[in-house]
Amino acid sequence: MGVTTAMEWLSSCSGCEIAILNIGEELVPLLTEHLEVVHAPVIMDHKYFGQCGDEGGHLQIPEAVVGIVTGGVSNEEHVEVLQEMRRKCKVLIALGSCATHGGIPALMNGQDGARSFAEVYRTSSTDPGVSLPDQGVPALLDRTYALDEKITVDLMLPGCPPNPAHIAEAITALLENREPELPTKSVCDTCPTRREGKGGMHKVRRFIENVQFDPAKPVSDMRCLLEQGFMCMGPVTAAGCAKYGAPSCIEARVPCRGCFGPVLPKGNQMLDMMNALASNGIDCNSVVDRRSLLRFSGAHGKLRPLRQAVTGRTDNG
């Protein structure tokens, strides 16, 4: 019998679960021999209130050695499920940037949530006169939280999605009772692009034209995208996405947007990026919508609603 494992997803998109399936060849022995999955809504049928749904009371998840939770915490049911996972699992892993830093759904933390959620039900195709559903659906929290704002997390595996190799390494290390070997550097540290030093650049450009590169040549032949004048968040983002020798987006010849979260444990991707730009003589005002540099790490109170100035919106970060 394998090591008992429970999985749950909160405010998530299922991409993290697909990342688990993308482990590849190792997946089959992992699922059939090394682990014994006791609860995982995406692949198995264990239910919270008994298999016939008639046991009532408090939602139940079986005990497990390993617990994997994806997604951030944005409604009351998420809190309940997360607390039950913490109670029942010995080792709890926060998988994916939503779970570790809030992820994309935490972009809502930059707005007045109550008002915005109500407005979702007032779009052009929605029937007039309807309001936010409120019968038997879990009430929304004031904002989206990362897991460690609500419970103690034993291991964080960021990434949107996380790298399947790291998921496999984390689980294998647990089974072998050793520390997992996970990346600690920045995306730039894993990037093979050519750096020529400061290019007399004063502004960053929006990504509305393709970067300069020779498609017949490898990424190592392409000049660093930041040096080409594009906003690239490699300097302030945790490494981990490189699978074929270059960070994933750089492989696609597209600049990094920071989906593995901050490289420093408590780092602020927006402020750190602004500092990095300023110290290279680049005008921070050339960054359009700088708050969206926190698009993957808006939990932990980093992204807050804008103050409404008398004259309208202010965008002072």
Binding site: G15, I18, N22, C52, G53, F117, T126, P133, V254, V288
Partner: protein, 450 residues
């Protein structure tokens, strides 16, 4: 005594849902609901973002079909900025979007749905899952895992990311397809086509023929259908075309995606976060009444194969003809979604090959010139779960002013509720139910692949 059965979470689906079955004093079904339990607010929090960034944000709506949101978002931004992608840029988007369909269908049929059929709907919950399938049919499972991985790698090697892609960009694509990679992809997609034909055969012999009775009855309802077809010849399209709305009697209205507001509305009930799209243009209102549904149509695989005049690729067309001679047009049985899914799998593989064989697919002119500005754009693609609509308006800086999204899955929330009620009422009598029966109620949902 009256009571409510809470089937929660609904499992082996791709989102968060709960089924509640309300039993009356004599233990018969009074009502049943399937509610969506989560709300994230994408329409609101993309406001203010530079529009060209949005296609790599909205991908996070769904980690299983991120390419659909990514490409629909890009089309909408093109519209806002008034740019037409270069021909090769547009074809590369389609190529990746269609390849993503391949993986999705393999995933759904074999990983999520197959346990009910391979192990049986009444088997114990602890084995009725993909792990159980691996143990019961290791050879098949090994092949499936390999094929899914192959499909995923094809995308990832070229486009950097398979989940939450970044390579489709306003005006086209971020990089051209090198000849060597084209050749490798072509080889891999032929392998996938072989597998898709095997999958269709396997399912015909081991699932559809074996469970004919269940298929005819479980969750059966009568509705209209919505899909996308080629503007000229009416063949099935996944990436672009005109929308086709079919009434339950088979009569059709075609319209352009830009005009969706004239045809579709979204109804909201207080018991679930999901909005329920309906056919506003039928002028009959909205009702989930099983005997007299109003405005209800379905989307996703069965809908697409029902509304199209033909499949547009040879092997898929053969499969459609066999399907139609057995089940007619429109086919209504809910479990036929699985069958239609495998016909589309064959189509997606054939279409991938067609696109890779297109002369200009390796051209280097992949992105048109883009100037951010004010405008409106509606981007429509067929996602695995249904017609996906992204509608954005931008301000003078090219930042999002407002957005409206109709996500594929949501078209079927109303119909899923009807199927759940139909299945529960047919299966639960006089207070008698067990986990196998309740799993069958879930199977009526699973067919829709929500």
């Amino acid at each position: 005594m009256a009571k409510v059965l809470q089937i929660q979470p609904v499992t082996r689906i791709e989102g968060h849902a709960r089924i509640s079955v309300h039993l009356n004093d004599s233990g018969n079904v009074e009502n049943a609901y399937m509610s969506l339990m989560s709300l994230r607010g994408f329409e609101k929090f993309i406001e203010g973002r530079p529009a060209e960034e949005v296609p790599r944000i909205v991908s996070r709506i769904c980690g299983i079909c991120p390419w659909m949101h990514h490409t629909a978002g890009n089309k909408a931004v093109d519209g806002c900025f008034g740019v037409t992608p270069t021909p090769t840029g547009a074809k590369l988007r389609e190529l990746l979007q269609v390849m993503a369909h391949i993986n999705d269908k393999i995933l759904h049929f074999f990983f999520l749905a197959a346990p009910d059929f391979v192990l049986g709907p009444d088997s114990d919950y602890s084995v009725r899952n993909v792990i159980g399938v691996v143990k019961a049919a290791p050879e098949l499972a090994g092949r499936v895992v390999k094929m899914r991985q192959l499909g995923q790698m094809m995308i990832e090697r070229f486009a950097g990311k398979a989940i939450h892609p970044v390579a489709a960009v306003t005006g086209g694509f971020s990089k051209p397809l090198p000849e060597a990679e084209r050749r490798q992809m072509l080889k891999d997609s032929r392998t996938l086509l072989d597998f898709s034909l095997f999958a269709l055969d396997f399912a015909r012999n081991n699932v559809f023929n074996k469970y004919l009775e269940v298929i005819a009855e479980l969750g059966a309802i009568t509705t209209g259908f919505l899909g996308t077809v080629d503007r000229e010849d009416g063949s099935l399209r996944l990436f672009d075309g005109k929308q086709r709305l079919m009434k339950p009697d088979g009569s059709c209205t075609d319209f352009e995606g830009d005009d969706y507001l004239d045809y579709l509305g979204e109804h909201v009930e207080p018991w679930g976060y999901g909005k329920m799209p309906y056919a506003k243009s039928w002028n009959e209102g909205f009702s989930l009444d099983l005997d007299d549904p109003r405005g209800i149509y379905r989307a996703n695989t069965l809908a697409r194969v029902n509304v199209c005049d033909k499949m547009g690729t040879p092997k898929a067309q053969e499969a459609l003809e066999a399907f139609r001679s057995d089940f007619g047009r429109p086919a209504q049985a809910t479990l036929l979604y699985h069958y239609a899914r495998l016909i589309e799998l064959v189509y997606a593989c054939e279409r991938t090959i067609e696109l890779l064989e297109w002369d200009s697919i390796t051209d280097t002119d992949v992105r048109a010139k883009v100037t951010p500005g004010a405008g409106r754009g509606v981007g429509v693609v067929e996602a695995p779960r249904g017609t996906l609509i992204h509608d954005y308006t931008t301000d003078a800086d090219g930042c999002i002013e407002s957005a409206n999204l109709i996500v594929g899955t949501t078209h079927n929330i109303g119909p899923m509720n009807m199927s759940v009620k139909q299945a529960a009422a047919a299966l639960i009598k006089d207070g008698v139910y067990d986990q196998g029966i309740l799993n069958k109620v879930e199977m009526a949902v699973r067919a829709y692949d929500p």
